[in-house]
Amino acid sequence: MDANTVSGRKQPFIYRLPVISHFRTSVGLQRAMLVTGLVLSIGFLLTTVLAPFIAPYGFAQLSDASGTFPAQQPPSAAHIWGTTVGGYDVFSRVIWGARAAAVVIVVAVVMSIFLGVALGLLSGYFGGWLDRTLVVIADAIYAFPSLLLAIVMSIVINHGQSSFWGGIVACSISISVVFIPQYFRVIRAETIRLKAEPYVESAKVVGASSVRIMGRHIFKNATRTLPLIFTLNASEAILTLAGLGFLGFGIEPSSAAEWGFDLSKAIADASSGIWWTGIFPGAAIVLTVLGLTLVGESINDLNDPRLRGRRKSGGKTPAGGPDSNGAQAALEAESRVL
């Protein structure tokens, strides 16, 4: 990462790691944002890992030794966040829900980064008909309503019904299909810019192969904005998963706990004044997305001064000032799940 060049080679390895180097360069408000984001994200991760130890019941458990759980019970000692209309324990489902969310994020984002970056590099570097075709397809997918695309993909893969892994994979693929064009656009634009740089020309003159130029010279420079897009897409993956669950195209309630599904049931409860079934899963979504977004935003902010400095010394003033391409792409992307 570029952080290396700033903190210098003399710094111990641990200080050169992305988030830690960001933390060390941050001050005041930015540090507060980063720390808040980190605390929330780490809390989310811990919940994911420790779910079996935190949750008092299973996510699909309807009864214990003392009998069947009562339905729509307000918070009490036995069920600290109450029970749902179906008799599930709200607290346990919220805790287990973190797991579904985490797996979907990882699978979806890794899948879309891998494909998006590869296609973006190829398309930007080789140009020609390949580039034109891919751009047209990416633009079409981009113009396609993302939630509808995700719904259709999830129906295609799972016919709307799903087991835990089936549901996870369906959701992840549906989300990836939406994200790949975003990575593709960012990486392609950067690749086109970079391949005109003198060092790429010199590599060509020296006789480096296309694969080597792409992999070694362009890849490292073009993927600068990826950490930001990664965190922002992770949050969007959660929101899309929740949206799918809310509309009933997500994971079945008996195969995994999923916050969006629980919220869709809670909407009906709200009319009769039952607040506990909705508030908690909703708050879980908000806090998780908030944590990831704060980390992403802070990293973007902390990267800015350097980005600006470098571009100015190269004789180019960035058109958008502090917003990098990644931030702009994220802004465009974020407006889409309503």
Binding site: L29, G127, D131, V135, V136, I137, D139, A140, I141, A143, F144, P145, L147, L148, L149, V152, I155, V156, H159, V186, R188, A189, I192, R193, A196, G243, F246, L247, L263, S264, I267, A270, S271, S272, G273, W275, G278, I279, G282, I285, V286, V289, L290, T293, T317, P318, A319, G320, G321, P322, D323, N325, Q328, A329, L331, E332, E334, S335, V337, L338
Partner: protein
């Protein structure tokens, strides 16, 4: 390798390669090219939705899958023509669309155009209300945040914007319902109007379908109040979350232009900060702003699926979920074609506006 020379400037800053290609000609040529790009966009979307919808299954199996013996089911599918080669069906559909015939919905046997008109007006009403809220809240707050950058107001506003992004619209809707409908009892929980207003609206001659407009035209004040009460929660929920997007958009871009040399030059000549923001920094920042806003508004017009489902607002988004569940591909195709047209036309308008604001775009 000819692209090597001309591509970088247009791609490096805009990230919108398709929208910022320089045509080399004047404004007229530029707009003409942009206009004709609408057609392939719509064509690709129509093609995509056609094949995607064929993959998810047919409406007859979805409706009667478990209840009919397999041979009867197969016979019905055959009668409806859904077992023909998909390419044949595709060209048949393209031919129909080209002549303006969008077919009849499979589940409720309504002409698609009529269905779009009915639910489209409901969506339009929600979109107008929400966009008004979003613009009124988002743009001024974004300007304030940019102007007071890194100060307390900016910190608060940025947090507000991130919170808007982090909150799923159905959770925001749930909180709104709990607070304003259940606890305070100010507004109704869901729907576009009460039954009585619905009936009054239905009996109007030549209704526009936009309830507040109809109520206003017929002078029915009770109905107007009822419609207003119903529309406040959805509009505010959707509007506030959209306002978060607008706020960030305005802030980022205005800060970007505030750092430019000519703004610095203006400042050194003693131009006031307020004037710098409202006159000098605002206009160049407008292009990315209207680009994203245009897309956002276009998507709202296509139906805010989650918002409409939360508030049982029977618009395009709400209805599309119903049609998807029934695998009514004729209806879904109709909705997506409408959405494609809206997005493409909005993009065109955005490009025209960008060209008018910034002469660099057209050369």
């Amino acid at each position: 390798m000819t692209t090597l020379i001309e591509a970088p400037p247009s791609d490096a800053d805009g990230l919108l390669p398709s929208k910022k290609k320089s045509s080399g000609g004047g404004l007229g040529t530029y707009l003409l090219i942009r206009f004709f790009l609408i057609i392939p966009t719509i064509f690709i979307l129509v093609t995509m939705v056609f094949f995607l919808m064929r993959v998810i299954g047919d409406p007859i199996t979805a409706a009667q899958g478990g209840r009919l013996p397999p041979d009867v089911l197969a016979q019905r599918i055959h009668d409806a023509g859904y077992d023909r080669p998909i390419i044949v069906q595709y060209f048949e559909y393209l031919g129909q669309v080209a002549t303006g015939n969008f077919g009849t919905t499979i589940t409720d046997r309504r002409p698609v155009v009529e269905m779009l008109a009915t639910f489209g007006t409901a969506t339009l009403e929600l979109a107008i209300n929400a966009v008004i809220v979003a613009l009124l809240v988002g743009i001024p707050l974004g300007l304030i945040a940019a102007y007071r950058r890194d100060k307390a107001p900016d910190a608060v506003l940025r947090f507000f914007a991130i919170l808007c992004y982090a909150t799923p619209v159905f959770f925001a809707g749930l909180l709104m319902k709990l607070t304003f409908s259940v606890w305070l009892g100010w507004f109704p929980v869901a729907g576009r109007s009460s039954t009585r207003t619905e009936l009054a609206m239905g009996s109007l001659a030549s209704p526009t379908g936009i309830y507040w407009l109809d109520a206003l035209r017929s002078g029915n004040m009770a109905a107007l109040g009822d419609v207003a009460a119903h529309s406040i929660l959805p509009a505010v929920t959707l509007g506030l979350l959209t306002a978060g997007v607008f706020l960030r958009l305005v802030r980022t871009n205005v800060i970007g232009t505030l750092g430019k040399d000519y703004v610095e030059a203006g400042r050194s000549r003693g131009v006031s900060d307020f004037r710098l923001v409202t006159k000098h920094a605002y206009k160049p920042a407008l292009i990315p702003i209207i680009t994203v806003m245009g897309l956002q508004i276009a998507l709202l017009l296509g139906g805010a699926v989650l918002t409409e489902s939360t508030f049982e607002w029977k618009g395009l988004g709400y209805q599309m979920v119903q049609y998807l569940n029934a695998r009514d591909f004729v209806a879904v195709q109709g909705i997506v074609v409408l959405l494609a047209v809206i997005v493409a036309v909005t993009n065109f308008i955005v490009d025209v506006a960008a060209a008018l604001i910034d002469p660099r775009v057209r050369y």
